[in-house]
Symmetry: C2
Subunit: 445 residues, 2 copies
């Protein structure tokens, strides 16, 4: 969905509505707190990048069942007239604390907590999990690529292979937030103002009688934005054709922006193509590469001496292919005044309303986090969860995407390289405060 087309409150699992019906029938209107966090044990994910909050808050602010929704619910014959009437009037009236988008966080840390009448807190579960889950997963994957690329620009090329239209738009937003330079996705360009870029497809080359004719035609149409795809027939011959057209462009005062490699042994080819351009005095022609890049392939290519100036990053990041879902959950941690937790094997929850306190060194570098009780204070630390919604009202305007991107970039500079490594060895220390530990012993099981 685009931001103007939120799915609304029927974007939910049926059990949220049936549990709500039972709470309603039993007059259980007390306040509950639910905590959203990622469970541990994600291979290749030493850290996460919080993303998706803007969509969550927009969804909560707009939360209401349409007439059409209500008619559908009546048609299921599951719900009492009283409950249907309650749903018809329902607005989200709760409080939300959350880490701002672009915050670096770790497994088991609450990234968002909702405190609301229990039916409301329950009904939004599916939407909140889906929204934060997707965007955080993609931003986290993208940040790893940005680190691996070591300053080289990355462009999101994933739209044709993302899991649906909403994902396509959100992947563009999440990768840009995490430091990508732009996207091929035109709709995301329109919605979010993300810079768009693109080259040409093999079909374009094939539609002309020769590669040279295709390059020449493209340079006529886009004399200042031309990037030639040179691997349709033979990459080296393609590079030579690109040189010819680049020379012709120079006579008209234009510079070829770059060429793109998309197949073959791109490490060796990039070196050969670089030589061909350098030998022709075309030092400023950039070499773009695409085809199956992710943080692992980018790192390997650069380590092995690829002469690549920028990467088109597609499918593997667009679906987070090595970890296509996060073990993200939304668990009740408090009901009325009692802390609550669950004991199912392997699925432990931290009871109580919480805060995450970050300790840094004098230069701001992150040292360790302590998960504590919401209302405690730990001197010299930075609390990461902020009040973002009270009584269903947004407390601040949404920051611009550019602002979030800058914040992420700054935050990321404060995370020690050992935690960014794709070798995936160092574990950032996350502790529990004494007060939170004590509370666990008090919690109702």
């Amino acid at each position: 969905m685009t931001p103007t087309h939120m799915a609304g409150p029927l974007f939910t699992d049926l059990y949220e509505l049936t549990m709500g019906a039972s709470y309603y029938a039993h007059h259980m209107a007390s306040t509950a707190t639910f905590s959203l966090f990622i469970r541990g044990n994600h291979a290749n994910r030493n850290f996460f990048v919080a993303a998706g909050l803007e969509d969550v808050l927009k969804g909560l602010a707009a939360f209401r069942f349409s007439k059409n929704d209500i008619q559908y619910l009546i048609s299921t014959d599951l719900f009492s007239d009283d409950y249907i009437s309650y749903l018809t009037r329902l607005r989200f009236s709760g409080d939300v604390v959350a880490m701002p988008e672009g915050t670096i966080f770790f497994a088991n840390e609450p990234v968002l907590e909702v405190t609301a009448p229990i039916i409301e807190a329950q009904l939004i579960e599916t939407f909140v999990l889906n929204t934060i889950g997707l965007q955080t997963m993609i931003a986290s994957k993208a940040a790893r690529c940005v680190h691996a690329a070591d300053g080289r620009p990355l462009i999101d090329f994933s739209l044709r292979r993302t899991q649906g239209q909403d994902a396509g738009i959100k992947v563009a937003r999440s990768t840009y937030l995490a430091g990508f330079a732009g996207t091929s996705n035109v709709l995301a360009g329109k919605i979010y103002g993300i810079p768009t870029s693109g080259t040409m497809a093999h079909s374009y080359i094939e539609a002309f009688t020769s590669e040279l004719a295709a390059f020449s035609a493209y340079s006529d149409t886009f004399p200042r934005h031309a990037i030639f795809l040179i691997d349709t027939y033979d990459t080296i011959a393609g590079a030579r054709n690109a040189v010819k057209v680049a020379k012709a462009m120079q006579k008209k005062g234009n510079d070829l922006m770059g060429v793109r490699l998309d197949s073959g042994d791109m490490i060796a080819l990039s070196q050969q193509v670089r030589s061909i351009f350098d030998d022709a005095g075309l030092f400023d022609v950039k070499i773009f590469a695409s085809s199956g890049f992710d943080e692992f392939k980018i790192a390997r290519f650069l380590a092995e001496g690829a002469k690549i100036d920028a990467f088109g990053v597609g499918t593997k990041v667009g679906v987070s292919s090595d970890a296509p879902f996060l073990d993200i959950v939304y668990k009740i941690v408090k009901f009325k005044d009692r802390p609550v937790k669950k004991l199912s094997p392997g699925k432990i929850t931290l009871a109580g309303e919480k805060q995450v306190f970050r300790t840094t060194d004098q230069t701001g570098i992150y040292l360790e986090d302590v998960i504590g009780v919401r209302d405690e204070t730990i001197p010299g630390t930075l609390p990461l969860l902020e009040n973002v919604m009270e009584n269903g009202k947004l407390l601040h305007p949404h920051p611009s995407l550019g602002h979030l991107r800058n914040r992420f970039e700054y935050n990321f500079s404060l995370l020690d390289d050992q935690y960014k490594s794709i070798q995936d060895t160092a574990v950032y220390p996350v502790l529990l405060s004494r007060r939170l530990e004590k509370l666990q012993n008090l919690a109702v099981y």
Copy 2:
């Protein structure tokens, strides 16, 4: 996006628009044919289930740039006034042949071919790939689960973890098409009329002072639809509590529908829970299980004697976690009157407009497919690609989802079990016709 909220023609990679601009500037308005197919070498995917055509055809029929879209394109400063004016008037005017949704097909077979003026055929690429790619991927994964479950009902529980909202809706549709019994996804229930079902969450149990009180309250609200989640504290104690409440329900003339297991050693637990219910004379109480099921886990559980009557299938199918993207491509195969193909290493395309001819035995069982030239006839075979759109006009109304589901079920019964096996050994024979082979030699590179 819901079907009423198609993203429109800006859901595209920028290069489609820039190539279009260059074609337009060079008066290249000739007809091209593009072929959509899945490249080979997908582990664990011996067959695919065609899905997504309805959304593709709706998108093509509605293809037009809004005023808002055009304003955005003008703002990029990339395009000539003439081209912008052309885009403003543009409608999709091409022809489409496609396999109906629910068709079983194989790698390298064209599942859809578009013949249209080259700019139009190019501009729809990203949308067509994204739409068919997601839905075919999910339907194919779901069919494997249906086979593994050997007649037991499967319910889609994936909504909280799908990659975005559009995926959530399309996963419900695609899994239902491929034989799932229903979904937890209420919005998909409303949009597609898919049966919805659900149980309760751990949070529901925890909101009461005891598990027994929670079960009892739920049975009051849903005396005929109660499925109790019994693993919050201890599954065996939970089963005993469920028996108590089931007995109380019987006194009021109601039957407990079932219980759900979600953690622990569910094979052993399911056997113990079955005994507890059978010993209490509650033979009709069904045991549902959820938590990480896919075709592999379902098959293993049943092989090891789990007493499970139905499965809630979530994340792993909702994101197709073992293969979260298909290597699906849309390649030019004909331009003007010449067959076209590409030679990039490892990325070979079959030139020409094609048809897929299926040979069956006398009982209808699929024996082999031949990819041939569109206008050839191969006696005794069934052509799989049908004319679905001509000159931009839909040729037939969209079949109902129920109809598609029945068709898939029938088709799937004609696929030999060796190709459905999750052992993934047998390869279904797909050959090329002599005419198609000859055409490859004529193709322009």
